[in-house]
């Protein structure tokens, strides 16, 4: 189906998925190819395979999340894993327990995988050093959100049949975005031409060292783009006075139909959600014909199934799928 890039390997090197930065190009391709197979499961009348039967997966979410948590949970259930969800508001964290102690207590009950969402960068690295269980990063602070980048890549490949050579424009609050960091890692590893654009006050220092082009001109970023990805303006961080107002942000950086005319005819519009309509993206664009935003969500399940399967299932379950 995908002919351009094929993974010559059949397993991942690590027990954890902490970030795209730890993955090789081949590992990324392996996950994307495995996700193709997983998507087919979701199209069956009985959407369940026994691949992770008897495995326990904990979804440990210290930050609010709808999409990602639900997506992981569905993925786990379709693979027949025993899953449980722990949200910070209901855990011992509210009693003052440290992250390390929470993790050690969970660990004592011998889960196979822990899916972690945390407000602080590096929280998953800390857990990976103290847990035998595999850790999947479901978003850590401003650092990485690897499964989001994988599902984005999956969605791009679905439409464009390739990633190498595509012009991808990523526009929005770059500084605070873990989605940006994961996508930059992934897209550059797979050979895309990545442009990032946003207010200079929200430009991550040194990002050009990652091999991306930077511009404060949205028009320049969008010119001839195959993919335009908008990032959420993180309203909760706006006390830092990074730009004057949401209105002005929309005027200078918001993605409108007019701006989009500079892109390729068959451009696709992506957004990791949750969207601020009328801030980083005009509703006409979000709901328009080029938008693949809901496909991203749908693909998230298949990609997360692939990640879980490759990390927790391993080779002995290969025939079960």
């Amino acid at each position: 189906m995908i002919t351009q890039q094929v993974a010559p390997i059949s397993k991942l090197r690590h027990k954890d998925l902490l970030g795209i930065s730890d993955l090789t190009r081949d590992e990324i391709l392996l996950i994307l190819e495995t996700a193709e197979a997983m998507r087919e499961i979701g199209e069956r009348p009985i959407k369940k395979v026994p691949a992770l039967r008897g495995k326990t997966v904990v979804n440990l979410f210290f930050e609010a999340s709808t999409r990602t948590r639900t997506s992981f949970e569905i993925a786990e259930k379709r693979l027949s894993a025993d899953t449980l969800n722990i949200a910070a508001g209901t855990s011992s964290v509210v009693k003052g327990e440290t992250l390390v102690d929470t993790a050690l207590n969970l660990e004592a009950m011998a889960p196979d995988m822990i899916v972690v969402r945390h407000a602080y960068s590096g929280a998953c690295h800390l857990l990976s050093r103290i847990c035998r269980a595999g850790i999947i990063n479901a978003g850590d602070g401003m650092h990485e959100h690897p499964t989001q980048a994988l599902l984005d890549a999956f969605t791009i490949r679905e439409h464009k049949k390739r990633i190498a050579g595509l012009k991808v424009a990523i526009i929005g609050d770059l500084l605070h975005s873990r989605v940006l960091r994961s996508n930059v890692q992934l897209l550059t590893k797979l050979g895309a031409e990545v442009w990032v654009s946003g207010p200079p006050t929200l430009m991550p220092p040194g990002i050009e060292r990652e091999g991306v082009r930077t511009t404060t001109s949205v028009d320049e970023a969008v010119e001839g783009a195959d993919v335009v990805m908008l990032l959420r303006v993180q309203l909760e961080r706006m006390q830092g006075s990074f730009f004057p107002s949401l209105r002005e942000y929309f005027t200078v950086f918001g993605m409108t139909r007019e701006r989009l005319r500079r892109a390729k005819q068959d451009v696709i519009i992506m957004h990791p959600g949750p969207m601020n309509r009328g801030v980083e993206i005009d509703s006409e664009v979000a709901d328009g014909p080029y938008s693949v935003i809901l496909e991203q969500v749908a693909n998230g399940v298949a990609v997360r199934m692939a990640v879980l399967y490759l990390l927790a299932g391993g080779a002995e379950h290969e025939t079960a799928v």
Binding site: Y120, G122, H125, L126, P204, G206
Partner: protein, 438 residues
């Protein structure tokens, strides 16, 4: 009791000495330093070849955590760490709990230090009451109780106006103001040096300019008032430039650099272990350009002192999310080895310059009668072993805390023995031949 240290290399920049000399001490005093001194009834100690006798080293920036945070360090454990690191004296910062902003706290610290009987402890008093940056602390009272300088360390002196007043007022006693230079608005909630590595790891940045903009403010105020300002734990290239310019204009400005800031860079945030909280300190590990400029300042004389900013933290406190872990690392027991390994042995500076940085200058900046082996001086002496191989082993630190980024490092150069007031208070069992110095 008289002891005659015979035949060692003596490096004492205050007296322009670097050569083979004898050192005669009687009780707590140095009687004479000279060539071929007669034994004259003294116990003769033949200093082993390869050892170097220097004035006692002086770490002018440490946190001893007592009173209030004794789970991290006490005056006694800090003093033990000091002498094990070759330091006969330390100056301890006032950010204890309560803050050392009154004579009661100063006296408490001095009492603990006297009881420990190891390194000399010189308290630094607070600039402002509770270090809140609002009202000056009782500076004359602090001085009378034994404080040798003032600082709101942990934070900068809050306003330019209060800094002006502090300089003017403390200037009356010829006490320096030791400043933690950092613009709070530019620091924000940063946890690491603003640059590529913090950015990639998703850590909020603290730009170098957050430091240097405050250095510039303080130099301007020191120039205006004619008083002495000392820049603590300098880390940014732009700060060094400001200090260099200030000195050129005759401003009374001095500065110190910590070993980690001339050794490590922000690359250590990512590798070999990412998010290692022992790489988290304030000011943060900066870029390679900044690190190299700190070395240049040490070589060209702009940097006056090397001080460790010894900041002990309990292991529970450091075993946390990077954002939540406290800033700071211990430094007393690794400083000398790092200085030898990174400064002296590579040929950047001579040993006499190192003694200036670690002894002569800190004593001069704080106006303390120390830092020399002059006839009649207090017999605070450090014996160094420049060629010994040291493997840093945090588990064996005298300090209560182990938060060092240097654990396991192999370094060339160490401490053989530490003598305070004529009394040998530390002998390094790994330095062969040091036993004779007991």
């Amino acid at each position: 009791m008289k002891r005659l240290f015979k035949g060692g290399r003596v490096v004492d920049p205050a007296n322009g000495r670097d050569g083979t000399f004898d050192v005669l001490i009687d009780g707590d005093r140095i009687v004479r330093v000279g060539k071929d001194l007669p034994a004259d009834g003294a116990h003769v100690v033949a200093v082993p070849a390869g050892f170097v006798v220097t004035p006692g080293l002086f770490d002018m920036h440490v946190h001893l955590r007592e009173p209030g945070q004794e789970h991290k360090e006490t005056v006694a454990t800090g003093a033990a760490a000091a002498v094990a690191g070759g330091f006969t004296a330390v100056a301890c910062m006032p950010n204890t709990s309560p803050i050392n902003d009154n004579a009661g706290v100063t006296e408490y610290i001095l009492q603990k230090a006297a009881h420990a009987g190891l390194a000399r402890v010189y308290p630094i008093g607070a600039v402002s009451k509770e270090s809140k940056g609002e009202q000056l602390a009782d500076i004359a009272e602090l001085r009378a109780a034994g404080c040798v300088g003032i600082s709101d360390d942990g934070y900068p002196v809050k306003t330019a106006l209060l800094m002006r007043r502090a300089l003017e007022y403390a200037g009356m006693f010829n006490m320096p103001v030791l400043e933690h230079c950092e613009d709070p608005s530019l620091k924000g909630d940063g946890v690491a040096h603003e640059g590529y590595h913090a950015s990639t790891l998703g850590l909020r940045g603290i730009p170098g300019i957050a430091e240097s903009i405050m250095v510039q403010r303080d130099i301007a105020l020191a120039e205006m008032t004619g008083a002495a300002v000392h820049v603590c734990h300098m880390s940014a290239a732009t700060s060094l430039r400001a200090v260099r310019e200030g000195k050129a204009y005759g401003v009374r400005v001095t500065c110190e650099v910590a070993p980690h800031h001339f050794t490590l860079t922000d690359e250590s945030l990512a590798t070999p272990v990412s998010y290692d909280t022992n790489m988290k300190m304030n000011p943060p590990l900066r870029s390679a350009v900044d690190r190299d400029d700190m070395l240049k300042g040490i070589v060209d004389g702009t940097v006056d002192a090397i001080a460790t900013d010894h900041a002990p933290h309990h292991y529970d406190e450091k075993k946390r999310e990077f954002d939540l872990a406290p800033f700071g690392i211990v430094g007393l027991e690794t400083c000398v080895s790092i200085c030898f390994d990174r400064l002296v042995h590579p040929g950047l500076i001579r040993l006499s310059r190192l003694v200036e940085l670690l002894s002569t200058n800190p004593a001069r900046i704080l106006n303390v009668a120390a830092g020399s082996l002059s006839d009649g001086a207090i017999a605070d002496i450090t014996v160094l072993a420049p060629d010994m191989t040291v493997t840093v082993d945090a588990a064996r630190f005298r300090s209560k805390s182990r938060n060092t980024p240097f654990d396991g490092w192999q370094l060339k150069g160490g401490v053989a023995a530490t003598i305070v007031g004529g009394r040998t208070v530390y002998v390094n069992e790994h330095a062969s031949g040091a036993d004779i110095l007991r």
